[in-house]
Amino acid sequence: MHSGFVLAKADPRPIYLQIIEQVHQRIALGDWTAGHPLPSIRELSAELRVSVITVKRAYFELERDGVITTRQGKGSEVVDAPDLVTRLLDSQLTPAIETLAHLAVQMDLTIDTLHDRLAEAIRRAKEQE
């Protein structure tokens, strides 16, 4: 099974995080739904030309975060959880809000100003969709 994952050497993030992100993306976009099988650790390692241990690390963290489930001898698959997509998107929202909060404190912005600018940004985002 060809995963279509792309690793970027110029990306400063470690390879296991890049693998995790690409799994998240496929689930968030709806390409991979509950029960969708993941490539085996060895297959993905050979395909991406990265060590087995790097792929294992990615799968371990995906499992720990409740994104995939692994059954002995059956391989790994996307978990069956109705809130999974929301959870994945929410995990991106939290750090974005933290950054926003830090900038707001630095710039001494009021909640009202932030609200107006966020409303404007949301309007633009909807236009692009």
């Binding site: 470690p14 050979a46 030309r49 990265v50 060590s51 087995v52 241990i53 690390r57």
Partner: protein
């Protein structure tokens, strides 16, 4: 099945100007071990001892369950070894070499050999003397890989290869351990290759193994901390580390024992932690070798 494909325990070897001291190395079956070290650190000597080409003074060496050197002949039927100084016959073609190797060793996979000829961009009917350095390296690797040995021992397999050839060779090495019964031990100065495909790392410097660990854990242990100090440099005593440099109120600390406790200890001195950076294997290699050279010089 033996759990360890390669096992060295307390190996010593003394030469007039160089010595391997107390070298211990374990390579579990089904893994890729990247063996790194500077020029003359002892990588090739260690691999030659393993292949029974050099005898060790003291210590225990085992390969695929066979004691070395006594069981070297039995072990080597299952081992593919490629090194810089291995000579192919200049007047013979690659095809001749392939037929020769197929006859001498069992397990030759002709289909895989043909695939590798194509992937490595070689021509079977070409004589060795007409090949470039990189093509010879690829030819030697092909002859070892297509035997599908249980253990591949490769001394600097990617040195002198162009980026496309390196990509194909790294692909062949990761494919080799697919069935979890085969093992790869390769030495390299190319830290990028090791960082990419190795499951475990062993680091040799001046004839001693200075570190050996699971690659992810090894990379997780190393961090570069950038700190701002409460006073000008020299006033604050920072926790001990592999390297500490400070100019003015800015200090950089390189550690191989990264932990929350270390960060707390830095903060306890009154320093502010500006950033905690991951390091590439290349940066770790340089920091580690430099720190030891300074230790020797001091």
């Amino acid at each position: 099945m033996t759990h360890l494909a390669v096992h060295l325990q307390g190996v010593h070897k003394r030469y007039p100007h160089f010595a391997l001291e107390d070298v211990s190395l374990e390579v579990p079956t089904g893994t890729i071990l990247g063996f790194i070290g500077a020029n003359g650190a002892g990588k090739s000597t260690t691999l030659r001892i393993l292949m029974g080409l050099v005898s060790h003074d003291r210590g225990h060496v085992e390969m695929l369950g066979h004691p070395i050197p006594d069981g070297a002949i039995a072990a080597k039927t299952q081992v593919g070894f490629v090194s810089e100084d291995m000579k192919l016959f200049p007047g013979a073609t690659l095809d001749w070499h392939m037929r020769f190797v197929a006859k001498v060793f069992g397990g030759w996979d002709a289909g895989y050999a043909a695939e590798l000829v194509r992937r490595f961009d070689l021509r079977a009917d070409q004589k060795i003397k007409g090949l470039s350095h990189g093509q010879r390296v690829k030819a030697a690797l092909l002859l070892a890989l297509a035997r599908r040995p249980r253990l591949l021992i490769l001394d600097e397999p990617t040195t002198g290869l162009d980026p496309v050839a390196r990509h194909e060779v790294l692909g062949a090495l990761t494919a080799a351990v697919q069935d979890e019964e085969r093992t790869v031990l390769f030495s390299s100065q190319n830290t990028l290759d090791v960082e990419q495909i190795a499951d475990r790392i062993a680091f040799i410097d001046r004839g001693r193994i200075v570190d050996a660990d699971d690659k992810e854990r090894y990379l997780e242990r190393w961090r570069r901390l950038r700190l701002t100090l409460p006073d000008a440099a020299g006033q604050t005593t920072l926790p001990s580390a592999v390297a500490v440099t400070a100019t003015g109120r800015i200090a950089t600390l390189v550690t191989d024992r990264h932990s929350d406790e270390l960060l707390a200890a830095c903060r306890a001195t009154g320093a502010t932690v500006q950033s905690v950076d991951r390091m590439t294997l290349e940066e770790i290699f340089v920091a580690s070798v430099m720190a030891r050279r300074e230790e020797v010089a001091a």
